[in-house]
C-alpha cells in the first residue's frame, strides 16, 4: 500500500501530514480492532472451558492458573444429575430429525429446482415463510394435542416439532445447491436414456452430496441446540441436554463448575460438526435463509 502510494507523487503532495498521521492512526485502530475481535470471540468459550476443569472453590474466582480436575464431568453423569440419558435423548432426537428431514427435503428441493408446475411459486413462498412463524405459536396447539394422544415428554413428540423448522430450512438450502448445478450434465444423462428418478439417484445426488451433508449438519445443530420445545414438552423421560443445563440451577444458585462441564458437552459436538463444514457455512445459512 505504501509503495503504490509513494509512487504517486500527486497524492502525497496533497495530503502530506494527514497521510502519515492517518497511517499511524489506522495501524493503531487495526490493532485495537484485532484485540477486541480476539477477546470478543474467544473469551466466553475459553472461560467456560477453563471453568469446566476447576474445582468448585476455583470456579468461583477469576483464577487463570489452578489444578485441573475431571471431577465435574464425573459429578454431572452420576445421580442426581444423571446427564447420561439426556445425552442419549439429544443424540436420538437430533439423529432421527436429520434422518427424516434430509430425504424429504432433498426430494422436494429437487422438484422445486428442476420441474415447472402450476403452484410452484406459491408453494415456495409458503415453505420460506413457515420459517417466520415463531416457535411459540407452533408449540401452543401441539402441547394440548400431545397431552391428548400421550406424546408429551416423548422423543417422538420432539422430533415431530423439530421438523417444523428443520424441514423448510433444509428444503431451501438443498434447493440452492441443486440450482447451482449446471443443467447440462443432467441433459446429457437424459439423452443417454436415463429415467427421471434414476437421474436423481445416479447423477444429481452424487453431485450435490456436499450440499446435502452441509444441510444434514445444520439440521443436526439446530435440533441439538433446540430449547423452547424441549422446555415445554418434556418433563423427565425425554429431556435433552439444553434442558439439562436448566437443572443445574439449584436452590443456592447455579452450580457454575457443573454448568461449565455440561456446557462443554453441549458445545463440543457442535464445534466439531460446524468445523467440518466451515467452507459451506456462510453459503449454507444464506441459502437456508432463516432458522
Amino acid at each position: 500500500m505504501a509503495s503504490s502510494l509513494s509512487s504517486n507523487s500527486k497524492a502525497r503532495r496533497e495530503y502530506p501530514l494527514n497521510f502519515s498521521w492517518g497511517k499511524i492512526g489506522w495501524q493503531l485502530a487495526r490493532i485495537i480492532g484485532l484485540l477486541f475481535t480476539i477477546v470478543f470471540i474467544f473469551l466466553p468459550v475459553v472461560w467456560l472451558a477453563l471453568t469446566a476443569f476447576k474445582l468448585p472453590i476455583d470456579a468461583y474466582s477469576t483464577k487463570v492458573f489452578f489444578e485441573p480436575t475431571l471431577k465435574n464431568f464425573q459429578t454431572i453423569f452420576l445421580p442426581p444429575r444423571s446427564f447420561g440419558p439426556m445425552v442419549l435423548n439429544s443424540m436420538v432426537v437430533s439423529t432421527v430429525t436429520v434422518a427424516i428431514t434430509i430425504p424429504l427435503a432433498t426430494l422436494a428441493a429437487y422438484a422445486f429446482s428442476r420441474y415447472q408446475f402450476k403452484s410452484k411459486n406459491v408453494l415456495l413462498v409458503w415453505v420460506l415463510s413457515t420459517q417466520f412463524i415463531p416457535p411459540v405459536v407452533v408449540v401452543l396447539p401441539f402441547f394440548t394435542l400431545f397431552r391428548d394422544i400421550n406424546l408429551l415428554d416423548t422423543r417422538t413428540g420432539l422430533v415431530i416439532l423439530n421438523l417444523s423448522f428443520t424441514l423448510p430450512f433444509a428444503v431451501w438450502m438443498i434447493k440452492g445447491f441443486i440450482d447451482a448445478l449446471p443443467p447440462q450434465i443432467e441433459e446429457a444423462a437424459i439423452v443417454d436414456g436415463c429415467h427421471q428418478l434414476q437421474l436423481l439417484y445416479y447423477v444429481t445426488l452424487p453431485l450435490v452430496m456436499p450440499g446435502i451433508i452441509t444441510s444434514a449438519v445444520f439440521t443436526f445443530i439446530q435440533s441439538w441446540n433446540e430449547f423452547l420445545f424441549a422446555l415445554i414438552l418434556t418433563r423427565r423421560e425425554a429431556t435433552t441436554l439444553t434442558i439439562g443445563l436448566m437443572s443445574l440451577n439449584a436452590e443456592r444458585g447455579i452450580l457454575w463448575e457443573q454448568m461449565a462441564a455440561a456446557g462443554l458437552i453441549v458445545m463440543i459436538p457442535i464445534f466439531m460438526l460446524s468445523f467440518s463444514i466451515r467452507r459451506y457455512f456462510v453459503e449454507g445459512i444464506t441459502m437456508g435463509a432463516v432458522k
Binding site: P44, A59, T62, Y115, L128, T242, L245, S274
Partner: protein, 290 residues
Amino acid sequence: MRERHATYYLLGPAIVALTLTTLYPFVYAFLLSFRDWRLSKSPTPGAFVGLENYVRAFDDPNFINSVVVTINYTIISVALSMIIGLVIALVLQKPSRLNTFLKAFLIFPFAMAPALKGFTWRFMLNPHFGILDELIDFVFPPLQDVVWLGEPGWALFWLAITEVWGWAPYIALVFIGALDSMPGDIFDAAKVDGASTVKTFYYITLPMLMPIIVMVTLLKTIFSVKQFDAVVTLTGGGPGRATETMNYYVYQTGFKFFDMGYASALAYLLVTAMFIFAFLYVRTIIREGQ
C-alpha cells in the same frame, strides 16, 4: 405427464409433513385466539369470546411492556450486530495466516446453543466472580458498582450482547465473502486518485455492501424478534419485567398461567409483526434470485 407424477411423489412427503407441523398449529392457534380457555380449569377449549382476547391485549400493561422491550431489544441487537460484524470483517479481511486462523473460529459462537450462551454470559457477568465484570471494572473503574443483570437498562443491553456475540461473527463472514468478491480494480483506481481510506470506505465499499447489509439486517431482525432461549437462561425476563420479550410473555401466559386462548391471541399479534419483516425479506430474496 410423467414429470407431473414425479412432482407429486417428490413434493408430497415434505408438503404433508410441513402441513402437519406448521399449517395445522398455525390455523389451530388462530381459532383458539377467539376462545376463552384456561387449561387449569378445563381440559377442552371454552366459549367463543370473539375479539375479547385481542382487546384485552391492548389493555394489558405487561403486554405493552413486552412490545416495548422487544422493539428496544431488536434495535440494540441489530445495530450492534451490524456494527461489530462490519468491524470484525474489516479487521480480518486482509489475507494473513492469523486472519485465516481467526476466520475459522468465527463460526463457533454462531453454532453454540443460544440457551448455553445465556448461561455463559450470566457467569461472566456475575458481580462476585465474573471474569467480564472484573475486566470492565479494571478498564472503567467508575462502573465498579454496577450489578450488570440487576439494572433494567444494562440487563437488556447484555441480553442483546449475548445474541450479538453469536451473530456479529457470522455477519462478519458474510461481509468478508462480499468484500472478497468485489472487483479489485475499483480500489486500485481509488488509490491512484488519492482517495483516503475513510473516503474509499464511505464512497465505494459501503455502497457496494448495501444490498447485503439490507438482507442481513432483515434476517437479523427476524431472529431478534424470535429471541427466547437466552431470555430464559440469562435474565429470566428480569429484573422486574425489563427483559420480558413478546415471545417470553406468550410463553409465560400459555405455560405458566395456562391461559391458552389469550396466549394464542398474543402469539398472533407477534405473528403479525413477524409477517411484516418476513414479507420484506421474502421480497428481497426473490428479487435477488431473479
